[in-house]
């Protein structure tokens, strides 16, 4: 490889390096992704977000209670919710609670469907306090 080719590669690399952070900012805001990741040099820019997940029955809108489940079943739901929350905090709206819904529908055969609300809690710029900043609802109906 000639020095000229290498020079072009370096130049191109630096241009990409300089263009990526503004793009990173726009993309990560658009899809609600965590700015800490993705090589946009935006680590330590915002406090980590908290994801709260709540499942409701689509039949009567009541919260899905885990009271009647045994320990392994309850753990299956908590694990699925925890994994979803972890990924959602990083990937934002690109991650949907499909697997959590699958676990819930499997454990509650009487449910016609489940709605999962996903709340993102983050530090508000003005109040400097954790506030719910975004709420998304995902509905899953049992296939007949």
């Amino acid at each position: 490889m000639t020095i000229e080719t290498k020079r072009r590669i370096v130049w191109l690399g630096l241009v990409v390096l300089a263009l990526w952070p503004p793009l990173h900012h726009a993309i990560f805001r658009r899809f609600d992704l965590s700015p800490w990741k993705g090589f946009g040099w935006a680590m330590y820019c915002v406090p980590p977000r908290v994801i709260n997940t709540s499942p409701f029955s689509l039949d009567d809108r009541a919260p899905v209670s885990t009271a009647r489940l045994n320990d392994p079943q309850r753990r299956a739901i908590y694990d699925a919710a925890g994994e979803f929350g972890r990924r959602r905090a990083e990937f934002g709206t690109l991650v949907k609670p499909d697997e959590l819904a699958e676990v819930i529908l499997e454990l509650y055969p009487q449910l016609m469907g489940v709605e999962i609300t996903v709340e993102r809690v983050a530090v508000d710029r003005a109040s400097a306090t954790f506030v719910p900043e975004r709420m998304d609802r995902y509905q899953y109906r049992r296939e007949r």
Binding site: I3, K6, R7, R8, I9, V10, W11, G13, L14, L17, A18, P21, H25, P35, W36, K37, G38, F39, G40, W41, A42, M43, Y44, C45, V46, P47, P48, V50, N52, E90, F91, V121, V123, R125, S127, A128, T129, F130, V131, P132
Partner: protein, 294 residues
């Protein structure tokens, strides 16, 4: 001279600048040492226990150490760059930004050979631009995300993390410090993380101002070495709180490439001792003062 070349040349060595050519060789050895050390320290991280990741980490240690033999260092850099790409591929999107910074260094070291006369200057220029762009954008991103103006981010870190609390207890008035530490875990309503202290606000706002300014001043020939020394001091200050000293070591070596004299060479031995110490402490699970984050 074409525009790209003129832009690249901004970061080139001054006419009377000495030591930079030798520094590049020692920087290469440092990056391989850093990669081996980071990988060794990552072996016992529970999230990395998958066999493929373990295999990669062990390979990175071997390649990094082999690269410390001068005649193997170029090929070790090339192999290491491929291995780090593989590591990033399996850790996405949770990969730390400093691993990517390491990959960029390895990529340049794989592409360019500092022992060739026409490549050494290009390598220096590329690494300097990389450092300057990195510094500038870390500052700009803080401005764009807007959690430094009232000290929200640093207040949050002080409230929730002992490593930052240890540092900021000397900056924040006692009453405010105790209030922050009593806020508890992050949840709706937790806060406020704003701190009633002019000194704390000054520190918070000076972070992004300094980073952006350093990014520019590192490129100006006249101010370059002063900016580099100030930036090294800044990195050390940040690491007193963040304790991401692995990243700090990489950053300091990048910045030493802006300072006249063979400082990468002179300090290489100290960094060998530093990584040996970290690796030994890691295996003995001791010496908490050198806690670090990977």
């Amino acid at each position: 001279m074409p525009l790209p070349q003129r832009i690249l040349a901004i970061a080139g060595p001054r006419e009377n600048e000495t030591g930079w050519a030798a520094n590049l060789f020692w920087f290469r050895l440092f990056v391989l040492l850093h990669m081996a050390g980071r990988s060794f320290l990552s072996v016992r991280v529970p999230e990395y226990d998958a066999w493929l990741h373990q295999l990669l980490l062990h390979a990175l240690v071997v390649v990094g150490l082999a690269g410390l033999v001068p005649r193997l260092s170029l090929w070790a850099s090339r192999l290491a760059a491929l291995l780090v790409v593989a590591q990033i591929a399996i850790t996405m999107p949770f990969t730390a930004n400093h691993v990517f910074l390491e990959l960029l260094c390895l990529g340049l070291l794989a592409l360019l050979d500092e022992s060739k006369q026409d490549e050494d200057e290009l390598l220096l220029v590329a690494i300097r631009w990389l450092s300057a762009v990195f510094f500038f954008y870390t500052g700009l991103q803080k401005v764009l995300w807007g959690r430094y103006f009232d000290g929200q981010l640093l207040g949050y870190l002080t409230a929730t993390e002992d490593r930052f609390a240890w540092f900021f207890q000397h900056v924040i008035p006692t009453v405010e410090f105790e209030r922050l530490r009593a806020i508890g875990p992050p949840r709706a309503g937790a806060g406020p993380y704003r701190v009633d202290s002019l000194l704390f606000l000054a520190v918070s706002n000076s972070v992004y101002v300094f980073e952006m300014l350093a990014g520019v001043l590192l490129l100006v020939a006249r101010t370059r070495w002063m900016a580099a020394i100030a930036a090294i001091g800044f990195v050390i200050m940040v690491e007193l709180g963040a304790r991401e000293i692995i990243f700090g070591a990489l950053m300091i070596n990048l910045l030493l490439l802006f300072v006249p004299g063979q400082w990468n060479k002179k300090l290489f031995g100290a960094f060998v001792v530093f990584y040996l110490y970290l690796c030994l402490a890691n295996r003995m699970a001791a010496v908490p003062i050198f806690s670090y984050s990977l």
